[in-house]
Symmetry: C2
Amino acid sequence: MSGADEFGEIERLFRPLTRGAAGAFDLLDDAAVVPQRPGFDLVVTKDAVVEGVHFPTGERPDLVARKLLRVNLSDLAAKAAEPFAAFLAVAWPTGFTPEQRAAFAAGLGEDLDAFGVSLLGGDTVSTPGPLTASLTALGWVPEGRMVRRAGARPGDLVMVSGVIGDGVLGLAAALGELADPGGRLLPRYQLPTPRLDLRDALRAQASAAADVSDGLIADAGHIARASGVGLRVDLDRMPLSAAAAGWLAGQADRGAGLVKLATGGDDYEVVCAAAAPIPGLTVIGEVVAGTGVEVRQAGRIVDAGLGGWRHG
Amino acid sequence: MSGADEFGEIERLFRPLTRGAAGAFDLLDDAAVVPQRPGFDLVVTKDAVVEGVHFPTGERPDLVARKLLRVNLSDLAAKAAEPFAAFLAVAWPTGFTPEQRAAFAAGLGEDLDAFGVSLLGGDTVSTPGPLTASLTALGWVPEGRMVRRAGARPGDLVMVSGVIGDGVLGLAAALGELADPGGRLLPRYQLPTPRLDLRDALRAQASAAADVSDGLIADAGHIARASGVGLRVDLDRMPLSAAAAGWLAGQADRGAGLVKLATGGDDYEVVCAAAAPIPGLTVIGEVVAGTGVEVRQAGRIVDAGLGGWRHG
């Protein structure tokens, strides 16, 4: 940051987002102090978004900021971590107005409040390119208790939270490629809800977990790879919203439709493995010896692309 | 990250940069675990850079990555923190080649090794815009001992490390606006050295400190503002390299030349306040009651622009 005006704007827009956290030093310092919490591990994740790549060009700045926070909190949710702090780097495009910057900050502030997270620091710069931002999110887990991608064991069940596929259908709605008469799909893409409510259940039962950002099959594949096991997933057991089920019913090829929903991404649910069913989650398969993800539909193995089966 | 090729490239390029840190989980997980260190505070900073804004378009990717790390470590250096970990978000421009990505990672790896820092995680994305990257750097200080911008007291001396002005002259050399016959200026701009060697001295003596990134006067102003004091800086006492002194000798207006060196930025030295001289640092002024920075040259108050004097 440089220049008196920019300094004043940063102060005005972002200082309230510290929510009074002592270690933020009112954003007046070169760095922040993160408190220690005896008996807990600090869990850190960092994701970035680019206009025209991760969200449509011209998207509302408040929604961009809120989703950026939420996708990072989704990573922490899958690790059974309790978020408390964030650092932001944002590159404002040339011509981004004070009102747009204020909307970005206000959206971020709204969700920081909603999720109990304080902004501790970061950087604002300008860019001749598209709006670009990264967020570093910090959370706590009891010492040694982060739920990793590694840890799934043959015999475990594979489960997923919520419903799958609304993310990719919501993106299609955002791009005008799909009607969304009920208006249920677009918000699921624009403003996903990180599954922080699963924290206790994941800590108690999950042997491995990941959030569903790249697509159910790809993220199941991350667990398989990190755990050194294979996963079997039955697309017919995949939980769908009424809107996604309606879309699927209109598809000529049900199998291809299910693959699209299972590989589209942007769901921000949690896929996990555990020895026994976790209440509220849907069992969609099981962990086996081997590697990769075996995807079945209507009793047959289907090719789900990059996440597909490679026999170990 | 998505797609098998990208996943493989990330693994190949970035996994070695974890330097075996346990909490990085080989970059296979959604998040990293940062170890706790009893008796120490965790200090965190996050700076971003954009091609064509913070470094010349077409700059060597290895130099971009190394400088990105170094400017973040410079923030930690000014806080008397000991760096140990980093998170990276990088947006590769369309058309950025595998060789360029490899050069970026190799440059980052070289300096992570040099400074004893492990990459714990992050994100790689693509952008239709310029190369953009942010780094989150983590360091330790003994509990409660971070050297803040706040803390300078009237009567303290104002000091600066190294020499000032090579950064802005090096930028001019990089842009072809200035001859650099000795080749001493360009490297100072491209590859600054964070003053981590000052850690013990700052912890022992400094009442306040900041790194010189925005420009000596602006950064002195940050200390003044955060501390609620005024600073007096005498430009004739400002330490210069032989190259900068040579440039200054060729200027028709010595005062204007000194102001340029004191306001140009990119020096990545440390400006601090302390009750007594710190060996190796140069005293350039003193802390007084009031606000802002009073800049003097040849015995007279000069207008140094944004960092200038406002009487409290």
